[in-house]
């Protein structure tokens, strides 16, 4: 049979020849025409040099610098370029042993993380001093180069819980956000964590070509791929540095917390948790790991932020809220007198009270902190729809508390905020039996005890909400960004309203004023300032009760709302009340009047940690 397709052999020959010609032309282009490749012939490494942006600084609300940046250095090495090194001199300059040198220079090259031809970290976190010595001789050590990093420095030993710290990214961070690269720093807690995206800035990168002695011989692709780094935004925090430090001083040698909020904005003026630690201990550097371990093992738990992480039954400081709920639900009137026969008595149930004149109205009930009064009005709320429909009444009460920010996170920017606990009708249905419980079972909720738990931050927020007569902003630590028009997140500019009419606040606030003027907290009086407050004593089954106080001032135009709690401090008027009033005085007047210096001394010197 004739081979009719014989002609096709020419097509195939043509294909082979043309293809070969294309390969040759490409070789001509690479080897003869494109001189850029040859000019850089001596360059045998493209290296990516990270340009780390300086992290945003943190100021207090009066623009005093709280957190600054310190330079440290990471020494990098490219294995294949290391040659003819005077190891003795090298080790001496860096203060490391020969064994360390050999170990660091020979990581596990079998692992994908390391390559002999790509740079890896030889020694991390070299101080500026060591760097200064080493840098002069750097040229003698081909293959080594240095990357500048910023770590944190703290001008004052204060606010460590709030400011937080930064650390190296871990696997989880890397997976979650593609921005990060191994070795990057990231905010781990506090403001550093909450405002990471604002503070971190944007990393830049240079691609450079190095020769086999590690010298830079040019930039890769004429620098077209290089990007500039962008510094992080400087953050003006809501904290008042003086007030913060003063609070820490007052609370020294005690366990407890202070939260002060500016009611009109929700800005946190001070957040103290004692015991604390020096923030400089946890800055990135050699020896940080040990410091962390020591702190973590300390039985006083200095790393624990009590202001948002501790939950207590609020005790009597809850009474103003109880009064507001009862007034709003119309189950009581402002001028309703309720007799107190030494406590609240119902059948065999008895909740004690202390001796005081009969409360003729809500204000007086708050002033004298009458347990009988609040047990009664609590039952009135719960039994609103009838004694047998306690769960309906309790749901109403619960819903009001949610609107005060209780039983849920306030949405603050302090990481790891706890929710506290507001018991619901379902909880009691589970605990007893559906429909098997009635208002007397749960009456202690009316005086802030029982299953009710709240955090100090929530306490301060209640105070701010009453000061605002019915609304609050989620407490936050950020005020603005320095020299930058970036607004703080919208959620901190949004009002949260309670379900209480403004008119109901007047008698409650009057009652809180009387607490200070003529009630349980006369010690909190400040000459010339109308302070409204409420003492509380949180029951503690494990030891002495906790001393609690909430307050705001001045009465007519509140500038500060505060909550103080002192563990094992006993009555609210013993420690929490005085400390609150000193904080208020300090913030509003800038100093403590001579007449109250004795109180300041007494608080500073009190030691409950013995």
């Amino acid at each position: 049979m004739q081979d009719q397709f014989q002609g096709r052999k020419y097509v195939i020959q043509g294909l082979f020849i043309v293809t070969t010609a294309i390969l040759l032309l490409k070789a001509v282009q690479l080897q003869l025409i494109d001189t850029s490749l040859r000019e850089q012939a001596s360059a045998n490494v493209i290296q990516k040099i990270n340009k780390y942006p300086s992290r945003g600084l943190v100021y207090d609300r009066n623009e005093k610098l709280m957190v600054n940046n310190k330079a440290i250095y990471d020494l990098m090495v490219t294995y294949d370029q290391v040659k003819d090194i005077d190891t003795t001199k090298f080790c001496q300059l860096l203060g490391i042993s020969r064994e360390v040198f050999i170990k660091k220079l020979n990581p596990n090259f079998a692992s994908r993380r390391y390559s002999k031809s790509k740079p890896f970290v030889f020694l991390k976190k070299i101080s500026s001093e060591t760097y200064a010595r080493f840098q002069e001789s750097l040229y003698e050590f081909p293959g080594f180069f240095v990357e500048l990093r910023n770590v944190r420095g703290y001008a004052f030993n204060t606010g460590s819980h709030v400011l937080g710290y930064i650390g190296e990214v871990n696997e989880k961070h890397l997976k979650k956000d593609p921005y990060y690269q191994s070795g990057d720093y990231i905010g781990i807690s506090g403001v550093e964590f909450a405002y990471e995206e604002y503070l971190r800035g944007v990393r830049g990168v240079d691609y450079v070509l190095r020769d086999n002695l590690g010298r830079i011989v040019g930039s890769y692709e004429k620098g077209e791929r290089d990007t500039a780094s962008v510094s992080g935004k400087d953050l003006i925090s809501s904290l008042d540095l003086d007030l913060q430090m003063y609070g820490e001083e007052l609370l020294q040698n005690k366990r407890g917390g202070i939260v002060a909020i500016e009611p009109s904005s929700g800005e946190i003026l001070a957040m103290v948790s004692m015991p604390s630690y020096d923030p400089n201990l946890l800055t990135i550097g050699r020896g940080r790991g040990d410091a962390y371990t020591t702190l973590a093992r300390d039985s006083l738990k200095p790393l624990f932020n009590r202001a948002i992480g501790a939950q207590y039954p609020p005790g009597s400081i809850f009474k103003p809220v109880m009064a507001l709920v009862a007034l709003q639900e119309g189950v009581t009137e402002v001028n309703r007198p309720i007799s107190c026969r030494g406590g609240y008595i119902y059948k065999t149930l008895r909740i004690g009270c202390h001796g005081h004149p009969t409360a003729m109205n809500v204000s007086q009930a708050i002033q004298h902190s009458c347990n009988a009064y609040f047990c009664q009005i609590f039952r009135d709320v719960v039994d609103k729809n009838g004694f047998s429909r306690a769960s309906q009444g309790l749901d109403v009460w619960t819903d009001h508390l949610y609107h005060f920010g209780l039983g849920k996170r306030l949405g603050s920017d302090v990481p790891n905020e706890l929710t506290g606990n507001v018991p619901t009708s379902e909880d009691y249905d589970k605990m007893h039996r559906k429909g098997a419980w009635t208002s007397p079972y749960i009456v202690s909720l009316g005086i802030g005890q029982g299953e009710l738990l709240i955090t100090p931050l929530q306490m301060a927020n209640i105070s701010a909400t009453i000061a605002n007569k019915g609304y609050y902003y989620s407490p936050h630590l950020v005020k603005s960004f320095k020299n930058d028009t970036t607004q703080i997140p919208l959620k901190y500019r949004t009002k949260h309203f309670t379900k209480i009419d403004t008119s109901h606040f007047r008698p409650v606030i009057d009652g809180m004023e009387d607490v200070v003027l003529a009630g349980t907290a006369r010690i909190a009086q400040i000459p010339g300032i109308k302070v409204c407050g409420k003492t509380g004593t949180a029951e503690n089954p494990h030891g002495a009760d906790h001393s609690v106080f909430i307050a705001f001032a001045p009465k007519d135009n509140p500038k500060i709302a505060i909550a103080v709690f002192v563990e094992n401090g006993g009555y609210g008027s013993r420690y929490a009340g005085p400390i609150s009033s000193l904080m208020i005085e300090k913030y509003l007047n800038g100093e403590i009047s001579d007449a109250r210096k004795y109180l300041e001394e007494r608080m500073k010197n009190a030691n409950l940690n013995k």
Partner: protein, 474 residues
């Protein structure tokens, strides 16, 4: 003329030219492997099995011996056992698929203890034999659908099995056997269609969205319609419109929808006008082509950028859109490979003096990227020599193919040429950045006993069959 001349009498008919080229390439390859491993101060023996050049030297010896043994086998063996060999090769593939050792991400090695081989290498040889066996008989042809399907099936079976192992590079090699089918009469429109698809695929991958492609296709289709008109004025008007549309698209990309809409409208008007006149066929063909092209590119584009994982995308992006790839990541090999070749200049840095080659900047330097060493140390002169040597080999094999009276040998020879051609194009192309990085070796030159042995067998069998050319009439 059916007397079989065996043994010593064959030497006269052996194609010494092919053998010379073969030896030249193998020797060059060994020198390059030696150069990569050479560290100056070391003084190891050339035959040290611990070194790569040492072990390669042993393999060269073994391969040549095997080649020699093949020359002694009766050529009829290959004609008779074409199918059995093919079936055994496919069974091997199936076996490694189930039980193969995982190396470099794909399960493709068969371990005999003293020696590991890749069944895909055997499959290349076996598939050439099978094609020759199927199409070799006097009355076999590619004029029926059934025969075409079987021929393509013979290629697809091993290809699919290798693809399942995850070795896309070796699988793609088999597509080169379509050249053999072309030579034996496969209809050209099939190749035109395939070529078009390849072009469309590449285009679809070149852009983030298929918008510019659809715009371009619409303009081209409209242009063809306009061109069919007799008068010149509409052509000029259309040309101006096309230029304007492209300009607007480039300057104001946010108006892309309007640009495409207008262009589409122009096409529709032209289309309606055509449909009314007599040349309907062209209009319908263009419409179908346009719709198919747009749809196909969109699907490919979507699948690539939205479905594939970034590291899978990178392999292609390195080739088509290097600016989108991390230069220290996926682009690293190719960048260094190009830099090594480019730094060689005209005459190279000299044997053993390639510093990029030495510093291991190019991973897989001795296997897939061996051409870098040629480029760096021997410069353009060396690269030219190697490429020309390969071209010479390819043309020689084609020449051998065409001088056969036996269709069997011709088909087999075309198979050998096609496979060598594909390896050359892709391997050398990828080291210079004009082909995607799919790891296939450069025949005879790359380090690796399995590959060298396979190519040696491929060529040796061809020489054995060729030496019978005078005695076999079929």
């Amino acid at each position: 003329m059916t007397t079989s001349r065996r043994g010593e009498s064959n030497t006269a008919d052996v194609d010494w030219m092919t053998i010379s080229i073969y030896l030249g390439l193998v020797l060059t390859g060994w020198l390059m492997i030696y150069a990569v491993g050479y560290r100056g101060e070391e003084n190891s023996s050339l035959f040290d099995m611990g070194t790569r050049h040492g072990s390669q030297l042993v393999w060269i010896g073994v391969s040549i011996t095997v080649g020699f043994v093949i020359m002694l086998i009766d050529g009829k063996m290959f004609r008779t056992f074409g199918y059995p060999i093919y079936i055994i090769a496919c069974l091997f593939l199936l076996y490694v698929l189930v039980a193969g050792r995982v190396i470099a991400g794909s399960q493709s090695w068969f371990d005999l203890g003293f020696f590991r081989f890749q069944p895909s290498e055997v499959a290349k040889f076996a598939t050439c034999l099978a094609l020759a066996t199927f199409l070799g008989p006097y009355n076999a042809n590619l004029q029926t659908f059934r025969n075409r399907a079987i021929a393509i099936g013979i290629i697809l079976l091993p290809m699919g099995l290798i693809l399942l192992q995850g070795d896309a590079g070796s699988a793609l090699v088999f597509s080169s056997l379509l050249i053999v089918l072309y030579r034996e009469g496969m209809p050209p429109p099939l190749y035109i269609l395939m070529f078009t698809m390849i072009i469309l695929t590449v285009m679809a991958l070149m852009f983030d969205s298929t918008f510019p492609i659809i715009l371009g296709l619409t303009l081209v289709a409209s242009g063809i319609l306009v061109n069919a008109l007799r008068t010149n004025r509409p052509k000029i008007i259309f040309f101006s419109f096309a230029v304007a549309a492209l300009a607007v698209y480039n300057i104001y990309p946010e108006y892309e929808l309007y640009v495409l809409g207008t262009t589409g409208l122009v096409f529709l008007i032209l289309l309606i006008q055509k449909l009314r006149s007599k040349r309907r066929q062209l209009a319908i063909l263009l419409t179908v082509g346009l719709v198919f092209g747009s749809g196909y590119t969109t699907v490919v584009n979507y699948a690539f950028y939205k479905v594939l994982k970034p590291h899978q995308q990178d392999r292609i992006l390195v080739w088509l859109r290097p600016s989108k790839v991390d230069p220290l990541g996926a682009l690293y090999n190719v960048t260094w490979s190009k830099r090594a070749i480019g730094s060689g200049g005209l005459t190279g840095k000299g044997f053993l003096d390639g510093n990029i080659t030495k510093l291991n900047y190019v991973p897989e330097q001795v296997t897939d990227f061996i051409f870098c060493t040629v480029g760096e140390e021997q410069g353009f002169v060396g690269a030219f020599a190697i490429i020309m040597l390969f071209l010479l080999l390819l043309l020689r094999v084609l020449f051998i193919a065409e001088r056969q009276r036996s269709k069997f040998t011709r088909i087999y020879a075309y198979g050998v040429a096609s496979i060598l051609f594909f390896h050359l194009l892709v391997n050398v192309g990828m080291t210079m950045g004009i082909m995607p990085v799919i790891g296939i070796p450069l025949p005879f030159i790359s380090y690796g006993g399995s590959s060298l042995m396979a190519f040696t067998v491929l060529v040796a069998v061809l020489l054995r069959l060729d030496s019978d050319r005078l005695s076999v009439f079929r």
